[in-house]
């Protein structure tokens, strides 16, 4: 992950494994919205650099350059 590769005002992150550009100051809640979920969506969880971000912290957690974000949802299995 090459830091500083993002254009001015943007940050480069990995969202569900895909290189993605986000606006600076993007929060985890914003990312959940970008991924297509409503803010209150049940069955959604977010990992930031491998660690779970509690739902209560979604709006206050800002994503940094180079972050690895995983937005996960319920699927059939097990």
């Amino acid at each position: 992950m090459s830091s500083g590769s993002a254009p001015e005002g943007q940050i480069a992150v990995h969202l569900n494994g895909a290189p993605t550009l986000l606006a600076t100051d993007t929060t985890v809640a914003d990312v959940v919205g970008l991924a297509g979920f409503a803010p209150e969506a049940r069955g959604v969880a977010v990992a930031l650099d491998g660690d779970v971000v509690p739902r209560a912290d979604w709006t206050t957690t800002t994503v940094r350059e180079g972050a690895r974000l995983e937005v996960l949802t319920a699927v059939a299995g097990g």
């Binding site: 569900n16 969880a45 990992a47 779970v52 937005v71 949802t73 319920a74 299995g77 097990g78």
Partner: protein, 265 residues
């Protein structure tokens, strides 16, 4: 005649501090459509269903959780696909956030061909999750010693496999399952390997408290019909277990009295 009934002789099924009416836990994987899943899950009579966590698939149509909510089922998230204790613990914590539940079906796989659990990683993850307040239901080997260790670290149940996940091979080591049942003070849930209704009945006759069935139903040619069959088998099996079966004998025991036999020579 004692007039024994299922209600009178069979103890209630208590798991994780709750009493459940159904001893059949359903997996949600492998169905060909959500509509087929909904019909089959309804037919199982199950109250608990497993779900996994994955990246959002933009192609995914409909919502699994909508189906589960319509049926009023309790979501049991799993850690399917985890190969290390670290990944499983992280996945469990994500699941707790996603579903607002402390319950977790803990899977830590050690081999991708057999999908057998990794005993060392499983025990490590179980201990950590119990310490973090989870109700841990571990998918485990048919190993009585490992089952005892899992119970000792505070798991709410032990869930030994009958045979590899999705194999439909039934219960390959019934003797070990019986030993696990004999020593366990937490519920024993036969998890994995059920191929058809008789396997589920056998698990219950061996003394398991419940069975977890996914592929046998979801991948059957007619899932709803198989769901009905497995449900009936679980009910038959638990009744048979508590009915007190006759002992096996090498020779016949006449079921008709000899007294009063006429002399027809």
């Amino acid at each position: 005649m004692s007039g024994a009934t299922v209600g009178g002789v069979v103890p209630p099924f208590v798991l994780g501090g709750r009493t459940w009416g159904s001893r059949l836990i359903a997996g949600t994987g492998g169905f060909r459509s959500l509509a087929e899943m909904e019909s089959a899950l309804a037919a199982t009579g199950a109250e608990l269903v497993t779900v996994a966590l994955r990246r959002l698939d933009p192609e995914q149509k409909g919502s699994l959780l909508d189906v589960i909510d319509r049926l009023g089922l309790f979501v049991l998230p799993n850690t399917a696909g985890c190969y290390t204790a670290r990944d499983a613990v992280r996945t469990a914590k994500l699941a707790r956030e996603a579903f607002q539940t402390d319950w977790i079906k803990l899977e830590v796989i050690g081999d991708d061909r057999t999908l057998f659990p990794d005993a060392v990683e499983l025990l490590r993850a179980a201990e950590e999750l119990v310490g973090d307040g989870f109700t841990v239901l571990p998918y485990t080997n048919d190993d009585p010693v490992l089952a005892r260790r899992l119970e000792a670290v505070g798991c709410a149940a032990v869930m030994p496999l009958g045979s590899p996940i999705g194999s439909g091979m039934g219960i390959r080591n019934p003797v070990n399952i019986a030993i696990i049942v004999e020593q366990a003070t937490v519920p024993v849930v036969l998890d994995a390997g059920i191929g058809t209704a008789s396997d589920a009945a056998y698990a219950m006759e061996l003394g398991c408290d419940a069975v977890l069935v996914a592929s046998a139903i979801s991948r059957a040619a007619h899932p709803t019909l198989m769901a009905q069959a497995v449900r009936a088998a679980v009910e038959a099996g638990v009744a048979a277990r508590h009915a007190g079966r006759i002992p096996r004998k090498l020779h016949a025991v006449a079921s008709t009295a000899e007294l009063g036999l006429p002399d027809l020579s």
